[in-house]
C-alpha cells in the first residue's frame, strides 16, 4: 500500500507534474466554455433563420416563377450549414480549421482560439436543431391563442412560446454540452494542451499509463456530475408549473 502511494507520489507530485493536469483542466474548461457560448449564440441565430418565414418572393404573381414563392434563402443557408457540420466528424473539422483555414497570416492563431472556434461552430449546428425542434414541437395552439389575443408575433414568441420551449429544450441542451466537454478531448491532436495532453505528457516521463488515464477519467466524471447536478436543480425549478 505504502509502495503504491509512493508510486502515485512519483507519478503526480514529483516535478509538480499535477500542474500539467491543472493547466489541462483550465484549458479544457476554457475551450468548452467559449465553444458553448459560440454554440448557443450561433445556434440561436441558425434556429431563428430556420423558423422565421422569410420568403422574399412570396407575393410573386408570375406563374412561371411560382416555384420561387416558397424559396427561403435564409433557411437554406442554415440548413446547408447544419448538414455539413453534422455530416462530418468533429476531428476532421478541427483539422480542416487548423490546417486548411488557419494558415498563412492566421498561422499564429493560438490553439485555444482555433479549438474554441472549431468546437463552437460544431456545437452550434446541434444547438440549432435542438432549439428548432423545441420551438416547432410546441403545440401550435399556443401561438394561435397568443395571436388571437392581439399579441404581435414577436411578443407571442417572447412571453408564450420561448419560455415554454426553453423548458423543453433544457435536457437536450445539457446533453449537448456534456458531449461538447468530452469532445474537446481530441484537441491535443492539433496541439491543444488539455487534460488528455496532460495525461500523455505524464505518461511519457513516468512510463505509467493506467494512473494518469484513470485520473483524467475521474476528473471528467466529476465535472459532468457537478454540472448535471446543478442543471437538474434548474430544470426542477422550471418544471414548477407542470
Amino acid at each position: 500500500m505504502e509502495n503504491y502511494l509512493n508510486l502515485l507520489y512519483n507519478i503526480f507530485i514529483v516535478d509538480d507534474r499535477y500542474m500539467l493536469l491543472v493547466n489541462g483542466l483550465i484549458f479544457t474548461l476554457g475551450v468548452t466554455f467559449v465553444a458553448a457560448v459560440i454554440g448557443i449564440i450561433l445556434g440561436m441565430l441558425l434556429s431563428i433563420m430556420m423558423i422565421a418565414d422569410l420568403r422574399p418572393f412570396k407575393s410573386i404573381k408570375s406563374q412561371k416563377l411560382a416555384f420561387l414563392r416558397n424559396f427561403n434563402p435564409v433557411a437554406k443557408i442554415a440548413l446547408v450549414y447544419i448538414t455539413v457540420i453534422r455530416g462530418t466528424p468533429t476531428v476532421v473539422q478541427l483539422f480542416i480549421l487548423a490546417n486548411v483555414i488557419f494558415i498563412g497570416s492566421l498561422k499564429n492563431t493560438p490553439i485555444f482560439v482555433t479549438a474554441s472556434l472549431a468546437f463552437g461552430l460544431n456545437s452550434a449546428a446541434y444547438v440549432a436543431e435542438i432549439i428548432r425542434a423545441g420551438i416547432q414541437g410546441l403545440d401550435k395552439g399556443q401561438l394561435e391563442a397568443a395571436r388571437a389575443l392581439g399579441m404581435s408575433y414577436k411578443l407571442s414568441m417572447r412571453v408564450v412560446v420561448i419560455p415554454q420551449a426553453v423548458k423543453k429544450i433544457m435536457p437536450a441542451l445539457v446533453s449537448e454540452f456534456i458531449v461538447l466537454l468530452k469532445e474537446t478531448s481530441v484537441v491535443s491532436m492539433i496541439g491543444g494542451v488539455d487534460l488528455t495532453f496532460a495525461a500523455k505528457s505524464i505518461i511519457s516521463v513516468t512510463y505509467r499509463a493506467a494512473e494518469p488515464w484513470i485520473v483524467v477519467a475521474l476528473i471528467y466524471l466529476a465535472l459532468i456530475t457537478i454540472f448535471t447536478y446543478f442543471m437538474r436543480k434548474i430544470e426542477k425549478r422550471l418544471r414548477e408549473s407542470d
Partner: protein, 242 residues
C-alpha cells in the same frame, strides 16, 4: 359588424372554403354546424386571420382585414377566440393567463387588469383557482378560464371553435352554461358546435355548412323542424338518430 364576401381558402390543392358570404350583426348568436371537413373551423380561423384567406374580403367594423394597411393585432383585440383544446398558457397561473394580454397588449394598468380578472373568474365560477396552474384544472374548468381570458380583452365578438368537443360529457354543461350567460348579456358569438340542443335553444341564427359553402342560413327552429336541403336532412338524420 362582420361582413364576409366571396371568401375562399385553399390549403395547397385542397379547396376548403368555396365562396362564403356572411353578414354578422351585433348581438347575433350564430351556431355553425355541419359535417367534419365542411370548413366550419377554417371559416372561424379566417375571421381573425389565424388562417390567411386565399381570396375574398372580410370587414370587421368596416375595416377590411385583407388590406395590407390593416393592423391585424388591433382587430384581433376586438375578436375573442375560444379553442377546442383551450390553449391556456401552461407556464402561467390562471390569473396571469387572464391578465397577460390586457396588460401587454391593451396596456391596462396591472391593478385594473387584476380586478377585472377576479370579476371574470367569479363570473365563470372559478374565483378560487386564481393562483393555480392550468395543469391542475379539469377540462371544463380550463375552458371556462379560456372564456374568461377572451373576455378580459373586452371583445365585441367571440369565436368559439368547438368549445365542448374535447370535454368529458359531464363537463359540457358547465361550459355551455357560461356561454348561455354570455348570450343573455348580448355578446355577439359565432359558435362552431356539435351540441344540437345548444344550437337549437340558444342561437338566434343557424348556419349549416357543407363542402366549403353555407348551405342554409336560417333560424334554428326552422332548420331543425323543417330543413330545406337534402344534405341538411341527411346530416340531421345522422346526428339526431344516432
Amino acid at each position: 359588424m362582420i361582413k364576409i364576401s366571396n371568401l375562399h381558402k385553399s390549403f395547397g390543392d385542397l379547396h376548403v372554403l368555396k365562396g362564403i358570404d356572411l353578414q354578422v350583426n351585433q348581438g347575433d348568436i350564430i351556431a355553425i354546424i355541419g359535417p367534419s371537413g365542411s370548413g366550419k373551423s377554417t371559416l372561424l380561423h379566417c375571421i381573425n386571420k389565424l388562417e390567411e384567406p386565399t381570396v375574398g374580403h372580410i370587414f370587421i367594423d368596416n375595416e377590411d382585414i385583407m388590406s395590407p394597411e390593416c393592423n391585424i393585432n388591433a382587430v384581433r383585440q376586438k375578436v375573442g377566440m375560444v379553442f377546442q383544446h383551450f390553449n391556456l398558457f401552461p407556464h402561467k397561473k390562471v390569473i396571469e393567463n387572464i391578465t397577460l394580454a390586457p396588460i401587454l397588449v391593451k396596456k391596462v394598468p396591472e391593478m385594473y387588469a387584476l380586478q377585472m380578472a377576479e370579476k371574470l373568474l367569479k363570473k365563470v365560477g372559478l374565483e378560487e383557482k386564481a393562483d393555480v396552474y392550468p395543469s391542475k384544472l379539469s377540462g371544463g374548468q380550463k375552458q371556462r378560464i379560456a372564456i374568461a381570458r377572451a373576455l378580459a380583452m373586452e371583445p365585441e365578438v367571440i369565436l368559439f371553435d368547438e368549445p365542448t368537443s374535447a370535454l368529458d360529457p359531464e363537463m359540457i354543461k358547465e361550459v355551455l352554461d357560461v356561454m348561455k350567460d354570455l348570450a343573455k348579456e348580448g355578446m355577439t358569438m359565432l359558435i362552431v358546435t356539435h351540441e344540437m340542443g345548444f344550437a337549437k335553444n340558444v342561437a338566434n341564427r343557424l348556419l349549416f355548412m357543407d363542402g366549403g359553402k353555407i348551405v342554409e342560413d336560417t333560424d334554428p327552429k326552422t332548420f331543425f323542424e323543417n330543413p330545406k336541403s337534402e344534405r341538411a336532412k341527411e346530416f340531421l338524420d345522422k346526428v339526431l338518430n344516432k
